[in-house]
Symmetry: C2
Subunit: 568 residues, 2 copies
């Protein structure tokens, strides 16, 4: 291809609206243009890179036995009402009515369509298992689109759906997709981790996020410094400390005026907050629950909710403290009767001789010990993760990683098939709901993530599998007949060798062409200029390292092929 | 590929909702499924055929120098308001508002996006000409979707846009696309005609429709029996008759009670309606216009509107007849003063001694002749086309053809760039609006049209370029080891020869497999059964002709390749 006949509008200046590198560079490199907030035109170079991602994804999905089809983007609202997602998604769902006043939506995912299709066209267990996928645009009305292609309202996604007879089948289909995803991200050259995650609005049980490391990422995860532990921040379970053993101090009441907070208490007593015991009070389905954590830690309400599901969790309010007879700010677990269930986080085992509330205003106790002074009904993991916690596997330091979620896979079970009445006839003649899974990959996010992970001050640094072109032949001067002829010859020779090559034959200065080649980030640059041609050489540059070499004019194509083989 | 691992839900019965062959067969063959009115899921076989169309279109667009990109499907409403299309499309446009109450639409075409993109990123005449295209889904809220994939609300289209400096450039870009379209339809094997057409809601000037012949088509065109003339029914200009010369009869008033219509008049007098002169009265921009046509013909108001554009045309109503003093049902052109402009269709030249109104109720005249008895201010082509009219080129009989429009190309001029202020700086430093063209091809329509043009009682008859697979190997029995082994061997050998082949290895009866092979319409069928294998042969069938032959087992793959070469 010839740049003179393409449409790659590079920009000399950084666009003011771009907050992060990928946004800035994809705009500057002429890969995308915004049409309105969170909605972009994908320009020819962006499209070439997206297509390369698409090809990798399609090859791996096909190899994994998934079958490609294509579902609509405008969908009837009723099935979404049946599954509850119409309300659950709320304003994130683009809603519209047609000319006959029927409610429609723009699909963010397609579980409902797939369940109904299975019900109609996979009537028997003999039709199962099936796995279908599509590559299609998706819609989410984000409140505040930002970060270029990272948080958008229209995005290209590969979404796959597995349809199985039973749970074992679903788990096997899930495993196959999990492994296909590993191959996809490896082939795309993405630096990523896999984390078990929260199901969110898709719902269901087991699910994993594929998180590409990125300093600008909004999605946090927890990892061990030694790389042997990964978790969602909501799900991280730090190592349980060694039990501290029996206490040695007597239980003693002390006067602590105006200390309803741990901070005030620790300051007054001149002790570390970690030596105090925090007793946080909740209403769980109408009953009182006390949760004990060390004074320097927080309760993770999400973990508590999972422990008591399906009961609802609510912190006690001021009225509750009054009517239930607890001294707010001075509550301790001593003397709670059976009407209070006492949860203690596992970290509480690591302490003894606690300072905690005395259940009277302006008074605390010291020397409180589990067993002797208070009981624990349930030892659980209910603490909020904190940087520096120890890894549950090898005790290494846990830290927060920032990432961009580039894929999410879900075991859905019958969450969609059941409310939609999507059933098949099993071998024994009984009707059963399909067991489903769903599997998504966002292409724009892979493109943007790759730029985040691979760029420098001069521009993007594409791995060759995703670069819009692998090689650029830069014709540095159009005024020198020999240079033009040699550049054309090398370009043609590279094409004959099936190299993915573009020639920069635009009427632009050499400086603009060099800057654009670095900005766009072709893995290999070949510069054909007057001086080189007169000396019988061309200049080669490997974008990833910046290393420059020279090759004899006659062997230029071979030298490019060799250099390309070394490119990441 | 193996049918056992695909998803091709064929149906034994005709779906009740299918009115035409393509709808019925695409449903029965498992190519598509309706999700809601006018909105379909494209199943794997439908997708394979659509992709083959897409590949042909992409190759020809690329070869013609068009550059692929991808524009959004949700679009801001404001540019559509600026060009007037927001109102013009009316209810056909899917409209929605986002969570911040901004008006959006689902794009039916993308002229506005392209014009604004050109304004932003093609600032100079040096950036021109450009031609960009995309393959993307489009939206039209049809009042009554029907005929399967022919009238739908969501459809896949290749839409291209040319952007030029001036009218010569636009015409050249248009010519290049016109020729690319000819190659595309020829390669797809579509039987089509090209007709200059009405610009409709896209607007602009010269435009052509590519019309695939189909008995079920809703789009009519006019063609000469000798094939040398084609026209849109609105634009057809029949041959002008030889002038009849001067009249011979005197102008005579006759009593014709209760004859306000041509029919009543002709019956009363016992003459042919073609010997009477109809005088149809219009208001054109506040002035009175009389249009004369032979009594057996109708005025084509569309033609009249084009003749008097930008004035508005309106037939006179009863009040107008009263206030302007015309005797409704008895109007004749004799004695009209300058306040009435008299148009006569060219066919009026072919008659003389007309029977026409006398301008008094219940009275007509005979022997009315142009020149002597009435004047004509403008001779024009304003008559409605009628089957049997003569061809303007060779006088052959004109007839109505039925078709499905599978492509439409437009010279837009500055219709979009002007209202959107989309301008570039020309060589002389002046700012000029872009001259644009737009070019659309509907893929679903090509798929459905091909089925309409190529099917029989047993099913579809795909040309090999568009078939979901070119060859099916039908394993007639799974109980015979030799047959299974031979079918697998032939399948593998065909794959090695790069034949686009599928093996029907499903657990189904031979009868079902034969019926499905005919229904789906693979160009070549290879049947491997017990009897044949024991006799050392396979059965081959060419779907297009139904011809059956046998080939030795050992040479089966070669025989298939040879037979496929003869398939349409």
């Amino acid at each position: 291809m010839r740049l003179s006949r393409l449409f790659v509008p590079t920009l000399r200046e950084d666009p003011a609206e771009a907050e992060i590198a990928s946004h800035r560079l994809l705009l500057r490199g002429g890969f995308v243009r915004q049409v309105m907030s969170g909605v972009y035109t994908i320009l020819p170079f962006g499209l070439r890179t997206m297509r390369k991602i698409e090809t990798i994804v399609r090859e791996e999905m096909d190899a994994a036995g998934s079958i490609e089809l294509r579902m609509p983007m405008i969908l009837p609202a009723d099935p979404w009402r049946a599954t509850g997602r119409y309300d659950l998604y709320g304003e994130t769902l683009f809603k519209l009515t047609d000319r006959h006043d029927r409610d429609l939506i723009l699909g963010p995912t397609q579980e409902e369509v797939v369940a109904l299709m299975a019900a109609a066209d996979m009537p028997s267990y003999r039709d199962l298992p099936k796995n279908v996928y599509q590559v299609e645009w998706k819609y989410r009305d984000e409140f505040r689109p930002r970060f270029g292609l990272l948080r958008v309202r229209e995005f290209l996604m590969k979404d796959a759906y597995s349809i199985d007879r039973d749970e074992d089948g679903m788990r096997e289909s899930y495993r196959i997709m999990y492994e296909a995803y590993e191959r996809i991200y490896a082939r795309c050259g993405v630096d990523y981790v896999i984390v078990e995650a929260d199901p969110g609005q898709i719902g269901g049980g087991v699910n994993h996020e594929f998180m590409a490391r990125a300093t600008v990422g909004e999605d946090l995860f927890v990892e061990c410094e030694h790389g042997d532990y990964l978790a969602d921040t909501e799900a991280a379970r730090p190592m349980v400390p060694e039990p501290a053993g029996e206490g040695t101090e007597p239980l003693t009441e002390i006067h602590t005026p105006d200390t309803p907070t741990i901070e005030a208490l620790a300051t007054l007593l001149g002790v570390d907050a970690s030596t105090t015991l925090k007793c946080v009070m909740f209403d769980v389905g109408g009953k009182t629950v006390a949760v004990l954590v060390p004074g320097d830690r927080e309760v993770n309400v999400n973990k508590l909710e999972k422990l008591v599901f399906p009961e609802k969790v609510r912190p006690l309010d001021d009225d509750d403290f009054t009517t239930r007879g607890f001294a707010k700010g001075y509550v301790g677990p001593q003397g709670f009767d059976d009407s209070v269930t006492i949860f203690a986080d596992l970290t509480v085992r690591g302490g003894r001789d606690w300072v905690t509330g005395s259940n009277q205003v302006d008074r605390h106790v010291t020397g409180a010990n589990e067993g002797r002074d208070f009981r624990v009904d349930r030892w659980e993991d209910v603490v909020e993760f904190r940087e520096g916690d120890r890894c549950p596997i090898d005790g290494g330091a846990l830290r927060i990683g920032r990432s961009i979620v580039v894929g999410h896979i879900y075991q859905l079970g019958t969450k969609y098939s059941e409310p939609l009445g999507a059933r098949f006839v099993d071998e024994d003649g009984s009707e059963r709901p399909f067991m489903m899974g769903s599997y998504g990959i966002g292409f724009g996010r892979i493109m943007a993530t790759t730029v985040e992970q691979r760029h420098d001050d001069a521009g993007m640094v594409w791995p060759k599998v995703l670069a819009p072109f692998e090689v650029v032949v830069v014709l540095a001067t159009r005024d020198h007949e020999g240079a033009v002829a040699e550049a054309e010859r090398i370009y043609v020779e590279l094409r004959e060798r099936a190299v993915d090559v573009v020639i920069d034959d635009r009427e632009q200065s050499a400086g603009v062409k060099f800057a654009d080649a670095d900005l766009i980030g072709y893995p290999v640059q070949v510069v054909v200029g007057k001086r080189g041609v007169e000396a019988g050489t061309v200049d080669l540059k490997l974008r990833a390292t910046g290393d420059k070499t020279q090759a004899p004019l006659a062997d230029a194509a071979s030298a490019v092929v060799d250099l390309l083989a070394t490119a990441p």
